[in-house]
């Protein structure tokens, strides 16, 4: 079994230090041909760094790698790709203004005399897209007009369209729906059968256990252990990752429901938000479930005034008059906060210090006659960084240098500082490790207990069922049902999520 030829990649003693951080220490990793080998661990455990070294995006400080028995020392991404080693990144590397087809084949556009052969390109792209189930997207659509989930499918389609010996997938399912994940798994199994070695990074433990043959758990840059997936359960993996048990407890706030904080009536905008009505109460977490593209984000943006609704009204704090919200500024002034799905593009100032990121929402309160009280600003930022456990050496560190989980905490800190009554969280735990996820769940529950109304959008149904008091399900822009803890089940919620798509003439869309 462990013969030399069987070992596609053998890395030994890989060490890598970044200024101030030892990202990897003496890591050994081995990948067989036709194997899916998962890497799991909390953010900052070194999974991505290890994979980036293998894919030639980063050089290790020491250690050596053998690829099919030959010394392998990629100097760049291109040289790794020449060896047949390819990585699909977590961050989208797509050019928004180019079409889906152009993005997939960007380094090898079919051309004649320098002119792109569009028909050939689009046909090839259609084929690559069909493999990941992207059949309802025209390859000539600009990538920028697709949602994040679709963009990720395009990225994966681009990765799968190359012939390679090793394919590394970094959090490929972070924004995919269950059916999209299933399609991806089918493709992974196909590649496996062809003898491709697959490195699979994910935070979703159950997913890892179902697709991977072996799991290597990393913690603080060291290998905790490598296990065959058949022999272990999720609890074992989580224990290895965090060094403790997390359990499947109900984390929902139990303080009881307060008065209505927000009531939406007949909200409509385009075909993504169709006659949406619901109520959110103080003291509870209202989960918003639905498939990708079911209009969850769009509804929240309409409430927040980021994209003004065409029809409908919002009533705040039990008032009889509809609230006037035409811009985010109006919403924030009336106590609504929106923590957007895309924190880097819409939530953070990456090149500014953590301090400025937190204080921005209420800078006026920190100033007198327009002059900022620097000492107070610093204190406020330090207090929030401390109470939320933001890991940074100083609040003067720029937000861009923090890990995903810590960046998300900075976004939360900025809105906690604003002290809004209604907090809308759009996918707050995406791309965040298990430990940080649980910290965020606890924060949400605390906020609800303090009397805030929490709206929580998530594509992870288990997560919603663990921490919400009620779950509202959206389907094709409509409210398909609201479930209380006592009468929900995974099956009922999923049925509701699909309900509007089933009714559509011509059957379900690609999502379903």
């Amino acid at each position: 079994m462990d013969s030399i030829t069987d070992r596609l990649l053998a890395a030994t003693g890989i060490t890598k230090a970044f200024p101030g951080v030892r990202a990897l220490q003496e890591v050994d990793f081995e990948l067989r041909a036709g194997e899916v080998h998962a890497l799991v661990g909390e953010n900052g455990a070194g999974k991505s760094t290890l994979t980036r070294i293998i894919a030639g995006l980063e050089a290790s400080d020491s250690g050596r790698m053998l690829l099919a028995g030959q010394v392998y020392q990629p100097k760049s991404r291109t040289s790794a790709e020449a060896h047949g080693v390819r990585m699909v990144m977590q961050e989208l590397n797509l050019v928004g203004t180019l079409t889906v087809a152009e993005n997939i084949f960007i380094e090898r556009l079919p051309s004649r005399l320098g002119f792109i052969r569009y028909r050939k390109l689009n046909d090839a792209a259609r084929e690559a897209m069909a493999k990941v189930g992207l059949t309802d997207v025209d390859p000539a659509t600009p990538v920028g007009s697709l949602g994040v989930g679709r963009q990720q499918m395009v990225e994966i389609a681009a990765g799968l369209s190359h012939r390679c010996r090793i394919l590394a997938l970094d959090e490929p399912t972070a924004s995919l729906t269950d059916s999209e994940v299933e399609l991806l798994f089918t493709q992974i199994r196909r590649l496996k059968a062809e003898g491709v070695g697959i490195i699979y990074i994910s935070h979703r433990i159950e997913e890892v256990l179902s697709i991977a043959d072996r799991v290597t758990v990393l913690r603080d840059g060291k290998v905790v252990g490598t296990q065959t997936t058949g022999e272990i359960g999720p609890e074992t993996v989580i224990r290895m990752m965090v060094g403790r048990d997390l359990g499947q407890e109900c984390l929902a706030p139990s303080g009881g429901r307060g008065p209505v904080a927000l009531r939406a009536v007949g909200l409509t905008r385009g075909d993504r938000v169709r006659d949406v009505s619901f109520e959110a109460y103080r003291g509870e977490i209202l989960g918003i479930a639905g498939l990708m593209g079911s209009g969850r984000t769009e509804t929240m943006r309409a409430i927040f005034g980021a994209d003004a609704p065409e029809a409908g009204a919002i009533y705040l704090h039990g008032g009889g008059e509809p609230a006037r919200i035409r811009r985010p500024r109006d919403a924030v002034r009336q106590g609504i906060a929106l923590l957007t799905e895309d924190r880097k593009e819409q939530g953070l100032f990456l090149s500014l210090p953590v301090r400025a990121n937190i204080s921005i929402t209420r800078l006026r309160a920190l100033s007198r006659l327009g002059w900022i009280d620097a000492a107070r600003e610093r204190r406020v930022a330090c207090d929030h960084a401390e109470s939320l456990g933001i890991k940074c050496w100083s609040v003067e560190q720029t937000a861009g240098q923090l890990s995903g989980g810590n960046q998300q905490k900075v976004v939360i800190a900025k809105w906690l500082y604003r002290d809004c009554d209604v907090l809308i969280f759009d996918e707050p735990t995406r791309g965040i490790d298990v430990g940080a996820k649980f910290e965020i769940y606890r924060m949400l529950a605390d906020l609800a207990t303090q009397g805030k109304a929490i709206l929580f959008i998530s594509s992870d149904l288990k997560e919603l069922m663990a921490i919400c008091n009620r779950i509202l399900v959206m389907s094709a822009g409509k409210v398909a049902g609201t479930f209380a803890r006592s009468d929900w089940s995974e099956e009922r919620i999923m049925a509701a999520a699909f309900s509007e798509y089933v009714k559509t003439p011509g059957g379900m869309r690609a999502d379903g």
């Binding site: 200024p19 980021a306 500024r329 939530g347 090149s351 921005i360 800078l363 327009g370 002059w371 720029t398």
Partner: protein, 324 residues
């Protein structure tokens, strides 16, 4: 803790300005050694006379670049505002204070027009201010009937007034730089500008409407161009509608040499002032060693690009040790 912070502040100040100061001292030393009459009062008086208008316009331009905008119209606004100043003094026989107010109002109005159009139709400032560059220049010719208005005495008071041997324009320029720097680094307004230049959408979603702030920045740039016009007109004793052609590019060059990013979100008013000084010293020095006008321009061009390259290295160096 507080001491640490202070030391940190001092270190940051050094990091921010030391490079520029060294460049300036080197430049002065080189010219001082290569010609005998560089280290004279005349040289420094010439430079001090030349820089107030460009310095003041550079303060406005720094703010514009920080919000990731650009203002190509400052030269034309300066010409138009100066023309109105001349006409008000000569044709309308207004007293100087009233004429100056008229001049400043013109600058403010042009800046407001830029800003309003930019925020109302969400247009790139490059295009809108390019339009204003033409329009204001045309208006300047219209107002003066394409002739230079000779003013003389009534306006020369501005440059002749001196405090402690420093001319009024020079003092005014220094004061505007100081206030500009404080506004940028210490006020809510300044912080919002930096945030807008870094990520405008995040500002909007943080519940702050960026539009009034953007408008204010263009109004400020127009107003400061008019202040520059008063000084420039006084120095020339006349209002010339041809004045300030290419002025906007000199101003942008000074600001960029100072390390303000054209991508927005990063910049400093004091650094822009250093940029103005470097260009002025370079110009005066090259003139004294006998360089021709075209040689001067050739060298200035190289300095602009070299400064930006150096600034990129400096910026990268400052960022890396932060992780440790």
């Amino acid at each position: 803790m507080v001491d640490d912070q202070k030391r940190g502040n001092v270190r940051r100040l050094l990091a921010d300005y030391l490079g520029m100061a060294i460049a300036l001292v080197l430049l002065i030393a080189v010219f001082g050694l290569s010609t005998n009459h560089f280290f004279t009062l005349t040289t420094f008086r010439t430079i001090a006379n030349q820089i107030p208008d460009i310095t003041i316009a550079a303060v406005g331009m720094t703010f514009v670049l920080i919000i990731a905008g650009i203002d190509l119209s400052v030269g034309s606004i300066m010409a138009l505002a100066g023309a109105v100043l001349g006409i008000a003094l000569i044709n309308w026989s207004l007293p100087l204070p009233l004429a100056v107010i008229a001049c400043l109002l013109v600058g403010l109005a042009c800046g407001a027009a830029n800003g309003l159009i930019i925020i109302r139709w969400a247009l790139p400032s490059f295009i809108v201010t390019l339009g204003m560059l033409e329009a204001a220049r045309g208006a300047a010719y219209l107002v003066t009937d394409s002739r230079t208005v000779y003013i003389g005495g009534p306006v020369e008071v501005v440059t002749e007034t001196a405090v402690l041997g420093l001319s009024l324009p020079f003092i005014l320029a220094i004061a505007i730089v100081a206030v500009g720097q404080l506004v940028l680094s210490r006020t809510v307004f300044g912080r919002y500008l930096i945030a807008i230049g870094t990520n405008e959408e995040a500002v909007r979603l943080s519940g702050i409407d960026p539009r009034p702030y953007k408008l204010a920045v263009f109004v400020l740039a127009g107003l400061l161009a008019a202040v520059a016009a008063v000084i420039q007109t006084a120095r020339m004793s006349s209002a010339n509608p041809n004045t300030g052609i290419g002025f906007e590019l000199q101003v942008i060059a000074a600001v960029v040499i100072g390390g303000t990013s054209l991508m927005g979100g990063r910049g400093s008013v004091v650094s822009s002032f250093f940029g103005v000084l470097i260009i002025a010293v370079l110009g005066a020095g090259l003139a004294q060693v006998g360089a021709q006008e075209y040689t001067k321009r050739l060298i200035t061009g190289c300095v602009i690009v070299a400064a930006v390259i150096l600034d990129q290295y400096r910026h990268r160096m400052r960022r890396t040790p932060q992780a440790g």
